[in-house]
Amino acid sequence: MTDLASASEVNETGVNITINGVRVVAPKGELVIDAAERNGVYIPRFCYHPRMEPVGMCRQCLVEVDTGRGPGLQPSCMLTVSDDMTVDTESETTKRAQEGMLEFLLVNHPLDCPVCDKGGECPLQDQTLAFGPGESRFVEEKRHYEKPIPISDLVYLDRERCILCDRCTRFAKDIAGDPLIHFMHRGNETQVLTFPDDPFNSYFSGNTVQICPVGALTARPYRFRARPWDLAEVESTCTTCSVGCRVAVQSSRNELLRYEGVDIESVNHGWLCDKGRFGFESVNSDQRLAGPYLRDVNNSDQLVGTNAALEAAATAIGAGRGGGGVGVIGGARLNNESAYAWSKLARTVIGTDNIDAQLADGLSAQMVLSLPRATIADATSADNVVVIGTDLKEELPVLFLRLKGAAQSGRIKLTELSLLVTGLSKHASASHRYVPGELAHAVGELLASNPQLASGSTVVVIGRPSAADFPDEVEAAVGVLTAGLPLATFLPALRRGNVMGALDMGLSPGVLPGRVSLDEGRDWFGSVWSSLPGEVGLDTAGMLEAAAAGRLDTLVLLGADPLADVPDRDLVERAFAGVGSIVAIDNFVTESVKRANVVLASTAFAEVGGTTTNLEGRVSRLGQMITPPGTARADWMIAAELAWRLGGDLELESLAQIWSEIEAVAPSHAGCTLEVVEAEGAIEGVVVPIPKSPDLAGAPSGPASIRWSAPALAEPPSVDGYSLRLVARRKLYDAATNTQMAPSLANLAEQAQLMVHPGELRRLGVESGTRVNVTSSRTTVVLSLVGDAAMPRGLAVMGLRQPGLAASELIDLRAAITELRIESR
């Protein structure tokens, strides 16, 4: 669907066609409208969108075409090129038809352009100017509807402006798979509408606003905020999740106002999820941390200057360095350059390997970095795609769109293995359930019963199924996969924005920049860096346990909120109580930041440039559009300042210089120079390692040096007939700071609740919606218990971080599974 079927047919052989008298060669299967555009002839259009199936409804792209039987008007969006075809987009007949269509479209289109958000960037307005008749002969009353009406929390619909091009409705049905808006009524009364009390709650609704060729659909966060000609724009890469969608970031008067999807073939095809699209509101938030502060022994906050705060942070870190140790948690929010700076700061100046960008809720870095990596393009063209664990629609929405599109078109055979029904389940050829704790066994059964997975190309998309289960389970499962499918490639479904860049830069214990292990890279980095820690350090869980045991003096929270994110709240509380001091570097005063002794303000998205890396390993540019609030500074600068105050020198001066250093020292990034990343037309980004790029002399090769071996297959945990096994899943909208700080998104997060199969309700003898006591090995909480037939029996499902109560309260991260007892109150 999304990838037009013609794409695969193109390029085989060319056909000769004539466009406005000029002979050109067009690939077989190309649409006339595209062939013309490629050759500099723009044919006006409204319904045609290159990423959707053409429908030929608006008739605006009619052009005179002669295929040997005399010239005739044909919709150029439905017609593929054929040999010796003659196309005339400027003939009298063509012009009359195009003028006529525009006059018809304007018959009922209100002339409220001066108050319309689309004015100035409106295809109807622009094409009327370019191709229209200049005057209307229509004197009757136009159609009238109530305007505008909200069709969701985010989108408004003005039916008077709508020209019924079927773009939004086609998008909703064919691309998003949420046919909640639809044509209703008939003929001249046709209108786009939702069903009563069933709003257009799609994770992708904002795309309909972007592709609307008139001002019929407007997004609440942008309504009446700016005129297109007042917007400044820079291209960037969305870092809301690790898919890395290309976006145009638009601002006015140093305030972000809108993100628009940019169409790149390799990643997002122009689409964005709403969380990414409207996330700019959190950058603009007046809750942003605008400067540093210190919290004294009396727990009162004291605003201080940057120097004083850096001094205090350096003192705290210095104390740890000289004593019980320092740990750095976080870094997935950072750009690559800042991640590198922090990696270098920790290893060379602080002298610790205790650093981890993941919060005990992801996958083993060693595993992720050592597995043969697939690209999204691989996954959408492989013979088989196996999705294991996560609900991509909730975690990596645009990857979901791409896989769904590929599955719908029949190009790939999609097999799913998950705890619950996911957004992809109904698009999969086969969708299997398994029981928490038994993933590796389920994978083994899957491989045994699907021998075709071993023949042909197979891409495995794997993520963490539930934060309530011990991650060893996933590693064991991957071990089964790599043994059974030795040629398979993998897309790690890690969620946080630049988590892959952070891992590539070494923000994980035992891993150095460039996908090199600490041990293998010791010689190389010993030569390019001043010094290295002697031992492999602790990961987040290890650091927290050490802190809880009083074995860690200082914790640095690098844009991390462990209290909210680590799936073991009890452990984090004990760690915070046991640690000497906490230094937090963040955009907001999160729950964890509130517990810090020193707080430094850092930049957010669009406030700093540099590069980011998506889950494929694709390095792409970030754009700076606005200045940060107050004295907030880029994370790499904070690292450099701290180094200096700690008596070291990172020798890092600018983003460009840092990138040059990365390219020079990180084996996986060899050849990925700034020139390559910034090259003209490189909006697709660059996937590292670049094939055939020369190795760095003297450096170990990247992935090969990471040693990872699968843990032994554990016995499935025994069944406790009185308990339900907890599944802690991620939802797109949750209590995460960036969501809650975006007013348009904050209310979209569902309140925390525990969902079970209705049969469990009957067994417990309670009605759906009853508040019950839920007890785990950690604690007892009160939750509302809801029956849902989509939930497998024996499981209890809750969001990891929904408002009201986080599942992390219930989880012991060292336990294989989390069992819950439910009792009525």
């Binding site: 008739r59 018809f104 622009d126 003929g187 009364e189």
Partner: protein, 481 residues
């Protein structure tokens, strides 16, 4: 055969005194729709004859008979069947019983009066071309047809004439009675398929959606009209040769034609195809017997509401497709609407334009916006509020729907040469042009009747469009005249 001047109760409108009879043979029996009467009068003999042949031979027989499609387009059924790709399965039969073209009344008669003939025709088509399921799509507003077909199908299933192992053979097919819900455009074959898939009945674009290649559920699909299929039992029973001997070489057999409007004896007649002329039909004694009150004939619609109009000058045109086209119209669905000298031509045209504007599916712009606009202008003219500019505007708006010369009949009165059928169109299907056809015919052939209604002599002020100025920073709605 006696002349039954008034309609008989059990077949309203059907006039039985014509010969030969290919599809209406059973109509004269009051209980023609029952399986008992059908079996007693040779029903399913055509099917038996078919099953005695190979499917390919049956297809050849139908191809040889040149059964022109009776739904409007007039394409030979046997040839249409041959357009299915040879290696794509399953294939389906969709029977178009959504009769709703203004003036047309024959398919309902065939469904209500002889459902077994229709079922037999469906089975022959399925057998010949390997169609694995048949959907009989009946217009929603025809509950009597539903009832009669439902009973007939239930009886036929019971008699093992439909379903598994028909008549003990290895030929098995289900016929599913499906009913519409009121939308004229669903009579268009791709819209019919959309509707049968549970969607809004909006036409699909051809190409790529030629039903024979990409039809129901994307599979090869034959869409045939009721009357087309009703011809098949006779052809299989009597042979293609016998069929071809009736009518003209290019238009063999007979066809049902409904004549309505200002004639003495309106009714549905089975006429000999290709040879019968409009004069025969309107004035002939076995047909309509002339104009009511012996008035003068002013004009007539020769092929359903979509067809450009004829005047008395075209009375000698026969029911033959190419001849009708050369004269500027089409035979369409076998519907003749007759207007006598008392007819108010603009008002009559408006009744059709209104119909097509209302029945626009709304998918493509020229039909959705242009059709309604035409209706608004014409309404203004008919109400006596029009200006000369409005008459030009009607033609200009129409020219955006149908660019180039629109077909019309010749008129020696006005010194007009005929402009042959068909027209060009910017729309996806024919509904948009059909809104314009009556206006164009009426205005071309009877301009004085429109001029007589004009009262306003002023010209319409022109409204300006919203345009951004060169810098794109300012929009204005200025007055330009």
């Amino acid at each position: 055969m006696t002349d039954i001047g008034t309609p008989i109760d059990w077949a309203p409108g059907f006039i039985a005194n014509t010969t030969p009879k290919i599809v209406s043979g059973r109509f004269e029996f009051e209980d023609s729709f029952t399986i008992e009467r059908a079996m007693a009068t040779g029903a399913y003999n055509g099917l038996k004859a078919a099953l005695a042949k190979t499917p390919a031979a049956v297809h050849d027989e139908v191809r040889g008979a040149t059964v022109l499609g009776r739904g409007g387009a007039g394409f030979p059924a046997g040839v249409k069947w041959g357009f299915m790709p040879p290696d794509k399965w399953p294939r389906y039969l969709v029977v178009n019983g959504d009769e709703s073209e203004p003036g047309t009344y024959k398919d309902r008669l065939l469904m209500e009066r002889d459902p077994h003939q229709l079922i037999e025709g469906c089975l022959i088509a399925c057998y010949a071309t390997g169609l694995s399921q048949c959907f009989l799509y009946v217009r929603g507003e025809m509950p009597l047809a539903h009832e009669r077909i439902a009973v007939a199908l239930n009886d036929a299933y019971e008699a093992r004439l439909v379903g598994k192992n028909i008549l003990g053979s290895n030929f098995s097919v289900d016929i599913v009675l499906h009913w519409g819900a009121g939308a004229y455009v669903v009579g268009e074959e791709t819209a019919l398929i959309e509707s049968l898939e549970g969607n809004r009945g909006m036409p699909r674009l051809k190409p790529p959606f030629f039903p024979a290649a990409v039809g129901l559920y994307g599979q090869p699909t034959i869409v045939n009209n009721i009357e087309t299929l009703a011809n098949l039992p006779w052809i299989l029973s009597n042979g293609a040769q016998a069929y071809a001997e009736i009518g003209s070489e290019s238009s063999p057999g007979t066809r049902l034609v409904a004549v309505s409007g200002h004639v003495k004896r309106p009714g549905v007649y089975e006429i000999v195809n290709g040879l019968t002329t409009f004069r025969d039909l309107i004035y002939g004694d076995q047909y309509c017997k002339g104009i009511r009150d012996d008035n003068e004939l002013k004009a007539f619609v020769p092929g359903g509401g979509s067809a450009p109009w004829f005047t008395p000058e075209q009375l000698d045109v026969p029911f033959e497709g190419r001849e009708a086209s050369a004269e500027g119209s089409m035979l369409g669905s076998g519907a003749v609407i007759v207007m006598d000298e008392t007819t108010d031509i603009p008002t009559a045209a408006l009744s059709l334009t209104k119909f097509y504007a209302h029945e626009s599916c709304g998918k493509c712009v020229p039909c959705r916006e242009g059709g309604t606009w035409l209706e608004k202008i014409l309404t203004r003219v008919v109400k006596g509020q029009g200006s000369p500019r409005d008459l030009e505007l009607l033609l200009e708006v129409g020219a955006t729907i149908c660019p180039g010369d629109f077909p019309h009949a010749s008129s020696s009165r006005l010194g007009l040469e005929a402009q042959p059928f068909p027209y060009k169109m910017t729309t996806i299907c024919f509904v948009g042009p059909s809104a314009f056809a009556p206006i164009h015919s009426a205005l071309t052939l009877f301009p004085e009747e429109f001029e007589a209604k004009l009262t306003r002599r002023d010209t319409i002020p022109l409204m300006s469009m919203p345009v951004a100025d060169a810098t794109g920073t300012d929009e204005s709605v200025g007055a330009v005249s």
